[in-house]
């Protein structure tokens, strides 16, 4: 398992290649990438992501370990950025490796659901008209109940 919290961009191609290497017994690799999306009607200048150093790494590691145990993954990768990002930039990625695709897909969804509302990150949107903290969504909390 690898958990990375960093300010600088990551290379999704290189990360995926490295992740896939050395897992000859794993038939399925699933990756998900989150990207800063522009806002319709109120152009986004930037998104600033704050986090809680120390707790962030611990929370992501615990979430990833739970996924590995539950879906019998061969490996899991979580990369999440913080700091100032502009639309089109990659915010985060997860990758899961398992013998068959079903577990890899499910585990990737689990990772995404949990790191949305259980990892200590806070997003702030800066637009032409002002700045505001992104509010958490009820759907994100509800999404956890299916696990």
């Amino acid at each position: 398992m690898r958990v990375v919290v960093q300010e600088q961009p990551f290379d999704i191609g290189a990360e995926t290649t490295n992740f896939a290497a050395g897992h000859k017994d794993m038939g399925a690799i699933v990756t998900f990438t989150g990207i800063v999306r522009d806002l319709p009607g109120d152009p986004l200048q930037a998104m600033e992501i704050e986090h809680y150093p120390g707790m962030t790494e611990a929370a992501l590691t615990e979430i990833a370990q739970t996924a590995i145990d539950r879906w019998k993954l061969g490996d899991a990768l979580v990369i999440h950025r913080y700091g100032r990002l502009v639309p089109g930039e990659m915010i985060m990625m997860v990758a899961t490796a398992s013998k068959h695709r079903k577990n890899a897909f499910e585990a990737a969804e689990y990772l995404m659901d949990y790191l949305k509302s259980r990892a200590p990150f806070w997003k702030r949107e800066i637009t032409d008209t002002g700045e505001s903290w992104v509010a958490s969504k009820v759907e994100d909390e509800d999404a956890l109940t299916r696990w």
Partner: protein, 81 residues
């Protein structure tokens, strides 16, 4: 103990962290003490349903005990991913 604030809680209180001497038994007791300090704390802690708390970097509830705790953090619901 060290008390940390993140996102709009940090903005309302005006500092990211501070040392607090307290004999509060639980997180809720500490919050009650802080609210009495100054208006900015009252403002930050006015609606506890809008807040989350971590004790020694683990998410917990407002009734969590503070005995032996080194670090406590207050912040809004998280928005990762």
């Amino acid at each position: 103990m060290d008390v940390l604030y993140f996102a709009w809680v940090r903005e309302r209180i005006g500092i990211p962290r501070e040392q607090v001497e307290t004999s509060a038994a639980t997180v809720a007791d500490l919050v009650a003490e802080l609210r009495l300090r100054e208006e900015r704390y009252e403002l930050a802690f006015s609606d506890l349903t809008a807040l989350r708390v971590a004790v020694d970097q683990k998410l917990t509830d407002f009734d969590a005990p503070l005995d032996g705790v080194r670090e406590i953090a207050f912040f809004p619901p998280m928005t990762g991913g």
